[in-house]
């Protein structure tokens, strides 16, 4: 177990005039035993960042430290880390046991210790009955667990997860999410988890690193990111449906964007006049797609509340303590 320190990480592909910079000066301190999720849309640089920590990509400038060591020049196998890949990356011709044992075999760990470690990991992940099977005889969820088992047996200082749930169906995803949480509670190993799914981020993270276009927009707990987003990007990325961002909200100044989450608009007799353009019933709640003058707005109301009709005008007041103001030019929180 060790802390991870990212200092002024920059990643550039190519040299000279045709160089493309994909990560712009990212710095973060991840505590020992912390579960940090790196989340962001496609192309934001999260995978590249993870791969730099793993040693699969060169670091253009900046330093990455795991524990007390600077690992910039170390091979992946020397960094005392383990990675779980999106497509599991299991060795197809080896049994589950051999897959998990491979890294230890290369490290010349004695046979009985290999057996002990593999069996212990198999017990944690409920893979005991499958140890002699080959990957092609396993389901997706089982394969993912083997991939995690392979990482666990190495007893590393850091776990790296690269979108491990993306290839699973929705139900299995929820199940595996819980298993990962359980694993972290039991083993307490520092973990970096990359995903584009904000639900995974919100549910798994102790702290979230939100990235956009190679820049770290915010690094905080899920509550912080949800309740006090640092920029319009974070505000609209986290939360489903996304936060309403209004340029011409009544009461807001010029050059200010007002943000209010759909659930923080109280429908009543007073407030902003909104024309209802569409209604979606989600079961326990309703989403009202409205228009305020020229801007679109989403309001979330409980299922028991009176449902308006399309075309009606309703009045909604934003909760004063839940209004977010952002600078219109920079997008940053005011």
């Amino acid at each position: 177990m060790a802390a991870i320190s990212l200092k002024h990480i920059v990643k550039r592909y190519g040299t000279g005039k045709t160089a493309v910079q994909v990560i712009h000066d990212v710095s973060a301190e991840i505590g020992d035993g912390e579960f940090v999720v790196i989340v962001g849309p496609s192309g934001c640089g999260k995978s590249t960042l993870l791969r730099m920590v793993a040693g699969l990509e060169e670091i253009t400038s900046g330093t990455i430290s795991i524990g007390t060591r600077v690992v910039n020049d170390l091979e992946p196998a020397e960094r005392d880390i383990a990675m779980v890949f999106q497509n599991y990356a299991l060795y197809p011709h080896m049994t589950v046991f051999d897959n998990m044992a491979y890294g230890l075999k290369i490290a010349r760990v004695p046979k009985d210790e290999i057996r002990a470690r593999v069996e212990k990991a198999a017990d944690i992940l409920e893979l005991r009955p499958y140890l002699e099977r080959k990957p092609r005889a396993l389901s997706g969820g089982q394969r993912q667990r083997v991939a995690m088992g392979r990482a666990i047996v190495r007893q590393p200082q850091v776990f790296l997860f690269h979108e491990p749930l993306s290839n699973l169906d929705a139900k299995l995803r929820a199940q595996t999410r819980l298993e990962i949480q359980k694993l972290h509670r039991e083993l307490g190993i520092t973990s970096l988890f990359v995903t584009h799914d904000q639900v995974e981020a919100m549910t798994l993270a102790q702290r979230m690193l939100v990235m956009n276009g190679g820049v770290m927009e915010q690094f905080g707990t899920p509550a912080e990111v949800y309740n006090t987003p640092a920029s319009t990007f974070v505000a609209s990325f986290i939360g489903s449906p996304p936060m309403n961002l209004l340029k011409h909200a009544p009461g807001a100044g010029l050059d200010t964007i007002l943000g209010i989450r759909p659930e923080h608009l109280e429908v009543g007799n007073e407030g902003w006049p909104l024309i209802v353009e569409g209604i979606e019933l989600l079961g326990a709640e309703r989403l009202l797609y409205c228009r305020l003058q020229d801007e679109a707005l989403i309001v979330r109301i409980q299922e028991e509340q009176q449902a308006p009709k399309v075309g009606e005008t309703i009045y909604a007041k934003p909760r004063a303590d839940r209004i977010h103001l952002f600078d219109a030019l920079t997008g940053l929180r005011i």
């Binding site: 793993a54 040693g55 699969l56 091979e75 992946p76 196998a77 880390i81 383990a82 990675m83 890949f85 999106q86 497509n87 599991y88 990356a89 299991l90 060795y91 197809p92 011709h93 491979y102 890294g103 290369i106 490290a107 080959k134 990957p135 092609r136 392979r150």
Partner: protein
């Protein structure tokens, strides 16, 4: 399948039967001729298609050599078969090893002039043995490799086609697998041995069959490079049995031809198991 036009089915079967007959008939004639005596072959016109009773004697003569009834001397075929076997094995194994390592280097490593090297290998496809035979003979002769297994195999042992085959296969191996192996601490050669090689089993089996037959059937190059009878491959042996002026023992010729056909056929049959296994084993 719903048979809508029985005529087409009958027609296709007829065509296939015809094809089988055309291919199989010469082999059948060879087998029958090898069971008769030379007198029976040459004197009966057309040659009888019924198997004779001279099989054992003919094959013994072909394999171990000796004197024929008409006083001719037959060289034994079994040493020549041994030469052919060693040559074919050396060539096929050598080609596979060299081309796998080349493809491995080209796909997984970045080194200066990588593109140039790749194109140079490609260009050698324009230079089959026949085109470069003169200079190659001179080099082999100067190195004193005439009449040796080295001379028979080394000039034929590099293969651009095999390199390409393996290159294409290696490109289909997912990058994540390579990265997982790196994470596990596997060195490049370790990765090659533990992961790439087992995954390449089907390609290796396919190439082995093709290259073995190629090596076994080599005629022009051994003809040039060997003058010592003990280093003749069996395909040369067959040719030498057919002499224009002296009396040709046709039954022995046919028997030797059959003997020469057996090992490649055996290789194909045995390797088929590997092919099928490889196909069934293919992972997702």
């Amino acid at each position: 399948m719903i048979e809508r036009r029985p005529v087409l089915t009958i027609l296709s079967h007829l065509v296939l039967l015809l094809g089988v007959l055309i291919v199989a008939f010469p082999v059948y004639v060879t087998i029958v001729a090898s069971t008769q005596t030379t007198a029976q072959i040459t004197q009966a016109i057309p040659m009888s298609l019924v198997p004779g009773d001279n099989m054992l004697q003919t094959y013994r003569l072909a394999l171990f050599g000796g004197e024929t009834e008409s006083g001719g001397r037959i060289a034994p075929a079994w040493p020549m078969m041994w030469v052919s076997l060693v040559t074919a094995l050396l060539i096929s194994v050598g080609k596979i090893v060299i081309s796998m390592l080349s493809a491995f280097a080209i796909v997984y490593f970045r080194f200066p002039f990588r593109g140039l090297v790749f194109w140079m290998i490609f260009i050698t496809l324009m230079l089959p043995v026949e085109v470069r035979i003169g200079p190659t003979y001179e080099v082999v002769s100067n190195l004193g490799m005439l009449n040796s297994y080295a001379g028979l195999t080394i000039p034929l042992i590099a293969s651009a086609t095999a390199t390409f085959l393996f290159r294409q296969f290696f490109l289909t191996v997912p990058d994540e697998l390579v990265e997982a192996a790196r994470m596990d601490g596997a060195s490049p050669m370790r990765f090659f041995w533990d992961i790439l090689l087992p995954l390449s089993r089907t390609s290796i089996a396919a190439l082995f069959v093709i290259q073995f037959i190629y090596g076994w059937n080599q005629y022009l190059w051994p003809l040039l490079v060997t003058t010592n009878e003990s280093m003749y491959p069996v395909v040369m042996g067959i040719r030498r049995l057919i002499s224009g002026d002296a009396y040709t023992e046709w039954n022995v010729v046919m028997a030797t031809a059959m003997l020469a056909m057996l090992p490649p056929a055996l290789v194909v049959v045995l390797m088929q198991k590997w092919f099928v296994k490889g196909l069934v084993d293919s992972e997702k």
